[in-house]
């Protein structure tokens, strides 16, 4: 990963690589790039990485590399995405109307309590699973099938539309709209951002104020704000483990782990700064957070201090 590298420096290094590979690049361009490399040790480091990349690419015989790298890798998947792109019409500003509606979702038609999980089957056969503390409204009309996710997290497995005219299937969060076709994906409304993980099919994101909507393919996940969409990353199966009642941790910081478990537990669950960096690995049952706490305490060097009849739990060093 790009540990230690400023995203902006990598952007600039990529820009220089692009300019210098242009057949119209001039000696003046090369000199300008050299000045950029000298301007900052971080630039020089990024450029060393760029040169390593050039060596790797330069060592590949094109007669072998082109068929291998240019193969129709996910032929089925890519073709499906192409078809999807053609089917995706411009997204209307449907979510704008929703934004002024109840942001807290107190009036939402479908709600789950903290620690609760529930399955819904919608009018078109689409199946939706609501995770803990979630609020969802369903608005189907002649033009679209729209889900409004006010809070929490959902898994969607869309059904083909049986209406005479195909209606697009969309999910709106505070950060924007996602449009799906023949797809299984999870959407999570976090503070100030939306998390999307695509298990099957593809989903196009339209951030509220951004442009150039990207398509997230099967096997990818991303995070977006109202303005920006993060580059797609490989799908982490831990992202949808909640649908099977599990929380999967792979060397997760205890502080992050505790924040995750707290979503499923009424009351307050926090950890002391002294144990925040401890790493936790394993599979934990989210439907029984008392058991999760027992597992932590019996496996790691922490103990649970409880107050207010277990409504307030603090994990501290043992």
């Amino acid at each position: 990963m790009s540990a230690g590298f400023d995203a902006r420096v990598l952007d600039e290094a990529a820009e220089w690589l692009m300019r210098l590979h242009d057949s119209h690049a001039t000696p003046a361009d090369r000199q300008a790039c050299e000045r950029w490399q000298r301007a900052d040790p971080a630039h020089a480091q990024a450029w060393a990485r760029a040169e390593l990349l050039m060596n790797k690419l330069g060592g590949l015989p094109s007669a072998l590399a082109m068929p291998a790298l240019g193969r129709p890798a996910h032929a089925g998947r890519r073709a499906a995405v192409g078809k999807l792109a053609a089917l995706l019409a411009a997204v209307p500003a449907g979510w704008l109307a929703w934004q002024v509606a109840d942001a807290q979702g107190w009036t939402a038609a479908h709600r789950t309590a903290t620690g609760e999980r529930r399955d819904l089957t919608l009018a078109d056969g689409t199946r939706v699973t609501l995770n803990t503390a979630s609020a969802l409204d369903v608005r189907f009309d002649a033009d679209q099938r729209l889900l409004l996710l006010h809070a929490g997290e959902i898994l969607v497995a869309t059904a083909p539309d049986t209406a005479a005219a195909h209606r697009p299937f969309r999910v709106a969060t505070r950060q924007g709209l996602m449009q799906a076709l023949g797809t299984r994906f999870t959407v999570r409304q976090d503070a100030g951002r939306t998390r999307l993980a695509v298990i099957e099919g593809a989903v196009r994101i339209r951030p509220a104020t951004g442009s150039a909507p990207p398509v997230i393919r099967a096997g990818q996940q991303t995070v977006f704000t109202q303005r920006d969409v993060a580059p797609a990353a490989a799908l982490d199966l831990a992202e949808s483990a909640w649908t099977r009642g599990m929380l999967l941790a792979d060397r997760m910081r205890l502080a992050d782990f505790v924040a995750e478990v707290a979503r499923y537990r009424p009351g307050l669950l926090v950890c002391d700064a002294a144990v925040a960096e401890l790493r936790v690995s394993g599979a934990f049952p989210i439907d029984d957070t008392d058991r999760v706490l027992r597992m932590l305490v019996s496996t790691y060097a922490v103990e649970a201090v409880t107050r207010l009849r277990r409504r307030w739990v603090t994990l501290v060093a043992r």
Binding site: D11, A14, G219, V280
Partner: protein, 171 residues
């Protein structure tokens, strides 16, 4: 505390215990996914190698669910690598003997191909195509624009995205 029902593994010697307890089960699980015993054996091995390679000693709660999750990630990656290796072997077979690289070179090239393939994974098909036409086939941006039926500005954006993706993922 229910310590008895919660086996945990806190260092590499205990990965050996994990191995003894669950290796056969994991291999069976992978064999059902792959329908093939020898690949299943390899991937089960990879799964444990990944555990051993973990930088710090691990404590693992509910080992089977955890192993399955690591194995699933390895499996997804494996399918992708298989597709690349098949395409590579086909290209090697189609090459005149005199031009083909030596066996050592073949392996080195394959390793580099795997690396580059992973770096380009997040690119959309046209951007990937543009990047390969420039960096592997040595085509000029103008010619790539004509070939793909897009503007020169778009080709430059694709190139920048490609380089950016590679730089971000280089170890």
């Amino acid at each position: 505390m229910h310590t008895a029902e919660l086996p945990s593994y806190s260092d590499h010697s205990e990965v050996a215990v994990l191995y003894a307890d669950h290796h056969g089960w994991l291999q069976g699980w992978l064999r059902r996914k792959l329908g093939n015993a020898s690949d299943a054996a390899d991937l089960a091995q990879d799964t444990f190698v990944r555990l051993l390679a973990a930088r710090q000693p691990e404590v693992i709660v509910q080992p089977r669910a955890y192993l399955t999750r690591i194995a699933q990630n390895i499996l997804v990656n494996w399918y992708q690598r298989q597709a690349l290796e098949r395409a590579y072997l086909d290209a090697l077979a189609a090459m005149p003997e005199a031009l083909a690289p030596s066996p050592e070179e073949r392996l080195l090239i394959l390793q580099t191909l795997h690396e580059i393939d992973a770096m380009l994974d997040a690119l959309k098909p046209p951007a990937r195509r543009a990047f390969l036409l420039s960096q592997i086939d040595g085509m000029k941006y103008e010619d790539i624009a004509r070939e793909l039926g897009v503007s020169l500005v778009t080709v430059k954006r694709y190139m920048q995205q490609g380089f950016r993706g590679c730089l971000a993922l280089m170890a």
